[in-house]
Symmetry: C2
Subunit: 258 residues, 2 copies
């Protein structure tokens, strides 16, 4: 398939830098396997639709200094950082303190949040509940018309809760505030060939389409195909061209229609 | 609950240093959300039963230099490193090359693996298939009596495949070779109290039992309880004592029996 068309990336692709992101997943319960992590995949998919490239995920224990160091590095390196977990009133909820430390600011009580907590818990409101009003000095309480309970953002760092239901509820706030870039498109091709046999065909399409991310995934769970090939990028024409060039290079009887 | 018994950790607990581990999860398909990561939770649970503390997980793209840098840092910092993904014959399978780079050794073809691959694929064996015989110079092919297809280990770094079925198949090799330490025990208590109200009780038990990891997890999915409390450690007597002290501090009607 060395005759595959070697078109240059379009000017638009070259010009627009893709925003990048990292995720910091926090919690002893995840590292011990007591709880299965559930937020990363929905964050990854959401960022993908926003045209943001998630490049790194780090998972750490509930330790202030470890989290703070990680927030500092990741928030400096990537356009956006999303933390998950460690938000709440108990001793193992140290994310707010760590984010404040990372940005070199104090932890302060938000009068706005305090008022919301008092309105919510009424006479049952305790000091424990009011700890949820604490945030890094200078943080912004992000809301939308539909989602009035605030999400804390400190500069480029979004502090998200670990509870999967609440994490999901808050995603629309990120979608609205971070803004939509150029979404990724993805195409898939299924074959009965194995990766060893596919390798020269894949090498050719990878060489011809450096701006398209080509993935190869063997399965053990289907008798309809052996390997799934994916073609991903932000320029739909280029992604389609890469897929078409690859399909044209396959032997007779391929690809498989599922 | 400030009257909780403040026993010192036993001599055995203090003496035996708990081995540590990190995991490096590799693959663009995970960061894009195209595939949901599935190996971490079984690795975490396996390490837990072996008495090994998984302290850090990093997820990166299929880029040799990024993976190599991460392998170097993690293998130097933790007793064990487990990589998942990027093993195979195609262009996006760069973990072996990266591990070799991290340890400053060449990539060589294992005669033993080559012979196994030729025996497996017979006359259909291609150059692509033979790429699976490549490994860092000095790596060990780990097998057990039951699991004869080898797993690559380079010093303290285990190179595991990303495909969930194969990852799971290979776990017994790790269990046999890494060796069992002192397993963690875990106890749970369920209450209808919320975290804000639980905070002072939790603070007391955390202060009295610094050697027990106390976790607090609100749920939105049950009407039988509101918060799950967990007590984890390697000294069963201490874990039970922490749990009992916490339960004794709860108001009447708590904890909830599920």
């Amino acid at each position: 398939m060395s005759e595959a068309p070697r078109a240059e990336p379009t000017a638009a692709t070259a010009r627009a830098r893709t925003p990048t992101a990292a995720a910091l997943i926090i919690g002893n319960e995840l590292l011990s396997g007591k709880v299965e992590e559930a937020n990363l995949v929905v964050l990854a998919r959401t960022l993908r639709t926003l045209g943001i490239r998630l490049q790194r995920v780090v998972m750490v224990e509930d330790t202030v200094d470890v989290i703070a160091r990680e927030v500092r590095i990741l928030s400096e390196t990537y356009d956006w950082l999303f933390t998950s977990g460690g938000v709440g009133p108990t001793h193992d909820d140290v994310t707010i303190e760590a984010v404040a430390k990372a940005f070199g600011v104090a932890v302060v009580s938000s009068q706005e949040m305090e008022a919301m907590l008092r309105a919510h818990y009424k006479s049952a409101c305790t000091e424990g509940h009011l700890r949820m009003a604490l945030m890094p000095e200078g943080a912004v309480l992000e809301v939308t018309d539909e989602i009035r309970w605030p999400t804390v953002r400190m500069n480029n760092t979004w502090v998200m809760p670990g509870i999967p239901e609440i994490f999901r509820m808050k995603l629309p706030v990120i979608i609205e505030r971070v803004g939509r870039g150029r979404a990724y498109v993805s195409r898939a091709v299924y074959t009965k060939m194995d990766e060893g046999d596919l390798k020269p065909l894949l090498d050719a399409v990878v060489a011809a389409f450096p701006d398209v991310d080509v993935g190869s995934y063997p399965t053990w769970q289907s008798d309809k195909y052996k390997t799934k090939l994916t073609f991903d990028g932000q320029d739909e024409l280029r992604v389609d061209a890469a897929r078409d060039a690859f399909v044209a290079s396959l032997p007779e009887g391929e690809p498989q229609a599922l």
